[in-house]
Symmetry: C2
Subunit: 186 residues, 2 copies
């Protein structure tokens, strides 16, 4: 039900634009009232980010499942690389991303979701490595990883979907790999 609603809404957004599509329009098209729509989704924007919370938990779990001795940055590269490949594999994702990128309120919601994810990942990263990783470093590394995904998404968008996301991610992670100094090992 949530899924059907989400698909319908997405189609309407791509067709008319996000701001030009009223919640009432969506609800009517789905044969329900506006009030009911808001019982499925807390906000209009969330219709596009339905799976984000589950995803965050899943990613955090994958992080926790990595070997405790593994370098934190390497761990992020592996897990987020996999995630990225899983999520943005489909063709629809390009239109989807374009929609988000061209709609401020959607961009805002996306960043909020990503920040939640980042927090969970930072926690998972610290759990995984015992007391070997301070809060600041975990924050820094997850923020940097987010920056990588961000820049890659932008480049992918810029290339019209032609860019090799996996290669870009790999390259970016390599470029920003923390230089070993201080208690760097996680």
């Amino acid at each position: 039900m949530r899924t059907e609603l989400a698909e319908l809404a997405l189609r309407m957004f791509l067709d008319r634009g996000f701001d030009e599509t009223t919640v009432d329009d969506i609800a009517r098209a789905a044969g329900m009232s506006k009030r009911t729509f808001f019982r499925y989704f807390p906000a209009k924007e969330d219709v596009l980010f339905g799976g984000a919370d589950d995803l965050a938990a899943q990613v955090a779990d994958e992080i926790r499942a990595r070997p405790a001795g593994e370098d934190a940055w390497e761990c992020l590269r592996v897990v987020l690389g996999r995630w990225e490949r899983r999520i943005h594999a489909s063709n629809e994702e390009l239109a989807n991303l374009r929609l988000i990128e061209s709609t401020p309120s959607l961009q805002a919601r996306m960043q909020q979701k990503r920040n939640q994810l980042r927090g969970q990942v930072a926690d998972a990263l610290r759990e995984r490595s015992g007391a070997g990783l301070d809060a600041f470093t975990a924050d820094l590394l997850t923020s940097a990883a987010g920056a990588v995904l961000d820049a890659v998404s932008r480049e992918w968008l810029r290339s019209g979907g032609a860019a090799d996301r996996a290669a870009l991610i790999d390259h970016a992670f390599t470029l920003l790999k923390p230089s070993a100094r201080g208690p760097g090992r996680g």
Copy 2:
């Protein structure tokens, strides 16, 4: 006028909270109508980010003014370090940041502003170094720099304002310094 309005609004936000303070409340307290408020600020959130646009332009200019031969990452570290020190020096900033961090819509607006800044900085970075920096790398470096500032802000907040921001920024920039491989020089 904008400034007075901004100060009044901030006081009210800190006092009652952002969501609990109506635009009409602010306008009334300032002796004007709601409509007039919206002629000074395009949105309620913007009352806190009045200077952000000027600041972005200023930062971009500083970037452009750096020597063309300087390493891009070093350039970011210097300019953003200065900026950071200038902005967050005051005591009020702690309460301010706490307010933003605890209010989703303010956080969203802040990130939007920061992303605008990021874009301008990326452009400035590329202008500065002729054709020596591709769009993706500029995006990646500015995103990473943003990640640094983000993580530092969070740590500063976590420490209750006690942390040494300058030292943290320095440390973070050093940690994430791009390893020289490929056409790395900017």
